[in-house]
Structure formats: structure tokens, C-alpha cells
């Protein structure tokens, strides 16, 4: 029964499904990137009264995130640095349009986002010469 369907048809079906999945995935990423909703303030629980807070959105597979956190702590010992697992805090990550890790936000004491850095290279560059 399995081989009643020509092999070529099965292979083509798998390739077609993979191409379709790739296309849908890219469309979804583009739609997320085009999101124009206003960025909210960071929740007070993350700020804990600090004047400057770095919020580092991480994922469990992100190998650059740990070094980024260490880099920020070294560069700004007076600032608060907190990490948020974007795969666990999905509504929070979604509200701040986190699409890759590390995504790093710098907030003032009111929670307003002052700076947004995406990727370890962006953090490195910021730490070397803050904008």
C-alpha cells in the first residue's frame, strides 16, 4: 500500500511541504518585523526602583546571552541588569517585539525604553562607545 504511491510523488510532496513551511515562516517573521504598535513601559517589577535597568531577553539556546550579561555588568556596575527568558515570558517578549536573542533594552526609572540593542555585536559596540 505504501509503495502504491510513486516514490517521486512522495519526495515531491515532502519537498513541497518544506518549501511551503519555509515560505509561511518567512511571511510570519516579516509580519512580526513590520509590527508598529507602540512600545510599552517596562513593568516596575523588573526595574525594582533602579535608575537604569538593562533587560536582557534570552532564550535557552542563546550562547551569546551569558557573555552579554557579564559585559553589561562590567561596563555599568551601578546599573541593574536582569535577564528574561523570552520563551517563558512570551507576552512580555511579544510586547517588546523580541524576535531574536539577545535583545537588550535599557530603561530609565520610569520604565521608558531608552535604548534597544539586538545581538551581541550591538551590545559590544554600545559598550565601547555609548550613543
Amino acid at each position: 500500500m505504501f509503495f502504491a504511491v510513486p516514490r517521486l510523488a512522495i519526495v515531491l510532496a515532502i519537498v513541497f511541504a518544506l518549501l511551503l513551511a519555509t515560505r509561511l515562516y518567512r511571511q510570519w517573521r516579516r509580519r512580526l518585523a513590520a509590527d508598529q504598535r507602540p512600545v510599552p513601559r517596562l513593568p516596575a517589577a523588573l526595574l525594582d526602583g533602579a535608575e537604569r535597568t538593562w533587560v536582557v531577553f534570552t532564550t535557552p539556546m542563546c550562547a551569546s546571552c551569558g557573555p552579554v550579561v557579564e559585559r553589561l555588568r562590567e561596563a555599568e556596575p551601578d546599573a541593574r541588569v536582569v535577564t528574561v527568558d523570552a520563551t517563558r515570558e512570551i507576552p512580555l517578549a511579544d510586547a517588546f517585539r523580541v524576535r531574536s536573542a539577545p535583545t537588550v533594552l535599557l530603561a530609565d526609572m520610569t520604565g521608558e525604553v531608552q535604548t534597544r540593542l539586538v545581538g551581541a555585536a550591538a551590545v559590544d559596540s554600545y559598550v565601547r562607545s555609548p550613543a
Binding site: 505504501f2 516514490r7 515532502i14 535557552p60 542563546c62 535577564t83 531574536s100 551581541a120
Partner: protein, 147 residues
């Protein structure tokens, strides 16, 4: 880094994706021509990378030494443990396929091999790695430090 902190050295995520792309193409071509040896061959190809780390996988090594130097540096690095786990699951499925072929259950053998091909193809083309997600789920339950 890995030895000091207990975490393995991070890897360029394009390496596993190249590996998955080769695996998908190889298994689909093997199925097309009913070449059953493709299952044990790819099980043997995946095994060293899954068991001992990326530097021991033939296609991971090929990527690192031949392809990667010709590309721009990776924008992000990733933990190698989830893709290694996914590769180990692939080895398991391909060994199952090999046993099924040996026992005369050809259809079952190809179903197992095509599951690997489809999932590896999905990971190669989109980055959505089902085996990696299973690893993360299990690691969280066991309290393994990840990020």
C-alpha cells in the same frame, strides 16, 4: 570556556543547519532510488557529532573548515547541546529504520527515515528544530542551566 563553566563552547548555528540539509537531501535521494543503505550510512555519519561533539561530525567539520571561512561571521552563536540531542534522536530513528529494513519491514523503515528527512528539512529551511525543543523541554524539567 566550556570546561571552566560546565557549559560547552557555543557553535555557529549554520553548521547544524548545513548538516540537516545534507541529511534531508541524502535520505530523500536514497528513498527515491530505494537505496536502503542510506539509513545505516547516515546513522554512522550523524553518530560521531551527536556522541562526541560538533568537531567529530563529518559534515559539521566540512562546514567549519570549508564553508564557514567563505561566509560572513555568524551574528549569533548557540548552545550545541540541543542540536546534538536532535542528532542523537535522528540516529535512533535511522537505526530503527536499519533494523526494519533488515527484518523485511521496508515500509516501516522508509517511514522512519522519511520522518528524519522531513524534520531535518524543516530545521534546515526554517531553523525550527523539533528535537532541540524536546531537549529544552527535558532540560528545563531536569533543571539544566541553558542560557
Amino acid at each position: 570556556m566550556g570546561a571552566m563553566s560546565g557549559r560547552p563552547a557555543p557553535i555557529d548555528p549554520r553548521g547544524p543547519r548545513f548538516n540537516q540539509g545534507v541529511l534531508t537531501a541524502g535520505l530523500l535521494v536514497g528513498f527515491l532510488f530505494d537505496w536502503r543503505a542510506v539509513a545505516p550510512i547516515f546513522a554512522a555519519v550523524l553518530f560521531p557529532g551527536a556522541a562526541f561533539g560538533p568537531r567529530y561530525g563529518p559534515f559539521l567539520r566540512l562546514y567549519a573548515e570549508v564553508i564557514k571561512p567563505r561566509l560572513s561571521p555568524p551574528t549569533e552563536l548557540e548552545d550545541p547541546r540541543p542540536p546534538r540531542f536532535a542528532a542523537a534522536v535522528g540516529v535512533g530513528f535511522l537505526l530503527g529504520a536499519t533494523l526494519a529494513f533488515a527484518a523485511g519491514a521496508t515500509a516501516l523503515g522508509w517511514v522512519l527515515a522519511l520522518i528524519v528527512a522531513a524534520l531535518a528539512g524543516l530545521a534546515a529551511s526554517t531553523g525550527i528544530c523539533v528535537g532541540c525543543e524536546v531537549y529544552l523541554f527535558l532540560a528545563r524539567r531536569r533543571g539544566v542551566e541553558l542560557a
